[in-house]
Each structure stands twice: as C-alpha cells, then as structure tokens.
Symmetry: C2
Subunit: 344 residues, 2 copies
Amino acid sequence: MDADQILVGVDIGGTNTVIGVLDDTLTVLGTCRIDTAAFPGAAAPGHPAPFLDRLAGAIRELAAATGDGRRIGRVGLGVPGRVDSECGVVLGASNLGWRNVPLAAEMARRLDRPVAIDNDVRLYLLGEAIAGAGRGYRNIVCLTLGTGMAMSLMLDGRLIRGHNYNAGEIGHDPVEGNEWRCNCGQIGCLETIASATGIARLARAKVREGAATLLARLPEPQRLSSHDVYQACLQGDEVARSVFAFVGATLGKKLLTAICLLDPEIVIVGGGAAAAGPFLLDPLRSFIAGHYFQRERPPKLCAGQLGDEAGVVGAAYFAAVHGRQAEQELLPGKEGFRLPIGPL
Amino acid sequence: MDADQILVGVDIGGTNTVIGVLDDTLTVLGTCRIDTAAFPGAAAPGHPAPFLDRLAGAIRELAAATGDGRRIGRVGLGVPGRVDSECGVVLGASNLGWRNVPLAAEMARRLDRPVAIDNDVRLYLLGEAIAGAGRGYRNIVCLTLGTGMAMSLMLDGRLIRGHNYNAGEIGHDPVEGNEWRCNCGQIGCLETIASATGIARLARAKVREGAATLLARLPEPQRLSSHDVYQACLQGDEVARSVFAFVGATLGKKLLTAICLLDPEIVIVGGGAAAAGPFLLDPLRSFIAGHYFQRERPPKLCAGQLGDEAGVVGAAYFAAVHGRQAEQELLPGKEGFRLPIGPL
C-alpha cells in the first residue's frame, strides 16, 4: 500500500456500525459510528441500499476528516452473518434482514475503491491476532458475547470459514436442559445463555423470582442489561455473580470441547459481555483448569485488548491482504508493523 | 516418486500393527500384521528398540515379497499418540509406553530410507481423504472408535494438528453425568462411552443388571466385545441396540458441537466399532438431523471405506508428500491417481 493512502475498516452490527480510518501501520486515525437500526433499509429484507448509501457517505466524511489529505486505499467490512468472502456476497445476515447481498460490489461501486468483506467475528479475531491479545499466536479460538454469541478460529495461521461459511456458529449448539427459545427458532441454543442478552435474561429471572439482589432496586429491573449485572457484581452482589458463574460454567463446557478438539494456544473472549472481565473469565478459567485433560498445557484465556476497534482493525487488515492469501504470513504481530504490500 | 519404487505405510496400534506396501497409484500391493503387544519393548517405557527391529524386518520382508523387485522409496508411520511430525518425534503414546521417541530417525536408520510419522487418526483421515469416503472433500471431520476414541480434522484441505499436537483429542472431553474413570486418569471422558471398550462395558453392565438380552447367553458374558454387541443387534436384540443408541446419542452431542464449530462437508466414522454400521450411524445421524441448526445444510455422515487399510494408505501418502506441504494440493481424490512428485 502506498503511504499516501489510508485503509478503512467497518464493523457492521445489528444496532451500531463502527467505522475506522487507519494508516499502513494499522494505527486507527479516527472512528465514528452510525446507527444501523435507524435505517429501515438495513433491516428490511432485500433493501439495504439506503443504509449502504449512508455508510458510504460516513466513510467518505471520516476519511476526509482524519486522513490528512490521503485518499482511501482499500475498504474492509465485517458483517454479522454468513459471508462468502471470495465472492464478496453476504449469503445471510438475520439481524440485518439481508440475504444474498453482493455487498462488496455494492460498496465498491459507491466508493470506487476495492472492498473486501467477511464475517464480523472472524475479522474481530484477525484484528486481535495482528494487533491485540492474539499477537504472535497461530492457533487462536475467539469467542464474542454480544446480542448473540459466536466463535471464530485461526488454526495454524489461517482463518477457518467452513464449507458453508458457517464455521464458529457454536452459539446455536443446544445446551442440555436449556428450554429457552433462540432467535434462530431452535430450543436451547448456547447463545440464549452465553451472550449479553442471555446474561440480562437470567438476571431478570432472578429478580422476578424475588432473589435478594441490588438489581431489584433498579428503576426498571425488567429492562436491565448485562452491563447492569456487571455493575452489581462490582458492588459484591452475590446473585449477579452467580449469573456470571452459571454462564461461565455453561459456556465453559462447550469451550472445553472446542479446546479438546483444536488444541489452541490462546482463547480470546470479546464482545460486549467480555467487559465483565474476571466475573466471566474466572469461572471460565476455573472450569477449563478443572476439566481439561492436558493439565500441564492449558491454553491462555484472556479478554480481547482492542475492544470495539478489533473488528475495525481486522476489517482494514483483511482488506489490505485480501486476495493475497497472506493472512498467515503477516502474522505474528504488529511490533513495528507496516503492511508489506505494493501499490494497490 | 520413481515408478520403480514402492511406498510403505504402517499403522501402529497398541494391539496390532498393520504394514502395507503400495505403488505410486497408492494401490495396496500387500499387507501383513505384527503383534505389537507381543513385544515387551513396544510397551515398556523407553525401550521400543526390539519392536522397531521387528517392524523394520517385517517391512523388508513384505517389500521383498510383494514389491516385484522394486526398492522401498519412502516409509510412513501412524502412531497412536502425540506426534511432532515435523521433527519426527513421538512426544507421548500411552498405549505403547513411549515418550519422546525419535521414531522417524530410528526407523530411517534401520531401513536407510526417508521416514515420516504422524498421529494415526490423522493418517487414517488422510487415507480416506485421498482414496476413500473423503475423496473430493476439503472439510472433513473423522472420528475413530476403537480401544479409545479420537477425531481428526481436515479443514480447507489441511490437516489440523494443534499447538501441542493434541488436536482431535475429544475422547477426553468429559460427558456430563458420566462417572466412569478413563485410562487417562480423568473421570467421565467421552471415550469411556464412545469406543469399542465403552460399548462392551455398557453391554456387560446390562447383562449384570439382568437385562433380557442374547448377550447373557454368551459363554463368558463378562468378557463380551463390541463385536458381540453388534452380532446381537443383527439378531434383533433390543438391549444391544439400546447400547448403540445410547452411545450414538452421547457421541452425537459432542459431534454436533464439532459440526457447529467447523461446518464440515462430511463426517467419516472409522475404527473397529464403526463396523456396527447403521446400529451406530443411524442414532448419530438422527441426533444431528434433529438438532443441527442448519437443517438444510447438514454434513454427510458415513463409515470409512478403506477399513484397516485407511491408516496404511494415509501413512504411505503422507510419507510421499511429507515436507512438500502438498497435502491439500493433491486432494481431491484418487481417480487415476499418481503421485505427482519427482525422484526421491
């Protein structure tokens, strides 16, 4: 990439979309957000055009404001759904109501720049792998807990996408004894427990049952969020902590299966609910430590380091290397990083 | 490989070792077995030498008998344990009592030929992928049920080994409510149920409980094998079938997690217990069909096609391509197959 160009990374979420402008060391020069949910076009099946127009406008504005006169080189987009990154098509994204949207071409037309797209959790992992908690590792399991829950995998330096671009969808693996109905229509999916939504739901149930918890004193306890549960944990609330402990143990069982299967070096936990830090990570760690048969070789387990920017950094990086099969060669890490690729 | 050379593939098991001689189309020219367990050296920690001497002798004899005058090109060995295939070292193989055995160098010295080694279940998968049920697929989950149980993975055409060469060890993932002690020392491992050993143990428990089953009429019901359980199934024995149904459902839950995580095209079931065919595969299939959230895109699930020869074919193939990172480029499949590599 020319040094007089900038990269754009975008993390499209069902609620918010984060846009970042980055230089060729993957330093974030500026970010902004647009409200995905405010665009009926983003959520109405088959009509993403108004949202994409707004997104293109916001990208141009942010690039002009923070790019110091440099023009946009490449653009990467992370999408919460099933993405064929080679063809640049979003096969399905239920939170956005999209199906078979040729997103890369649509955005390339609007911006007149090359655009690459992939699944958001995969690009989150890529961001953490190149510039965050995953620097220097080649075998990474990443899990994000937000509205939903998913994993992404880097094995031997390569992102794993699966035959139908569904790899990582462990959020829809059923949990024994769990009767909750998932947005996907199934009963008992892991993400009905192990997600920000699941944490909030479990805590609301405790309040309804009359449990002695600070959460009952909130102005609208039946609208409490996973962040409220975290805040209660900080104040020593045992009920709130028990919710995280239950989520950690439930998630821990599935994560243990993934660890037995894949033997990763590191597990990175991200997404909104990961902000709960030790209240979630400690029960997870203790479950894995107590049950993994390779006691002397457990993987490291930690929270992501880049927060919201992981998806943006990953998307920009993916855009820069897309088509060059260079994902793994550029790893490990970002110390003194500079994109080792020629002019676009 | 020169056409005047033959390949040797070996599948070392805790009980038997299968040796095969193959030509450059991976056609098996001949096989023989040696009794691993008869060699105290094979099982005594740190003393594999007598077994390796016998193995080298058997390889030379079989090559002389079936090779039609051609000399041995390369030799591949599958080992039931944790194998560093790059360094050629068996890090640990509990059924053999081996620890840090430089097996590739030891055998290369004995045979004066290049030797490559890897985990046996990985080479089983490679054999099925190149010449069996996995031909033409690039995303394969393989599971073998024998004395123990393990999975191996080919994702996007590449074998997955894991950071500590432990990928696939889902046999030691604990099953909720299972109190059985595993050979690994842990309580409740999946392989205490989902293995030939586990199937036999469950059936013996049924007999002890006084269940109405043909198995109780065996001369020594407390020494019955998984093969006996299969035979009883063939005769319509409901208790025997219920054992397979239980094993299928228990294994199905863990397999479903693997499928959600990896999105494979095909799941291949191999090892001794796979001979039970529909009695095991039908409960597995029905569990996956009933619970996989991608109902319209389930992976194919089938038994291996090569039986005992899968490991031998995979080992020979691995020997031929080892060091050339060509595993994935030679896939798919074996129609008119000829090893596309130069002189050794």
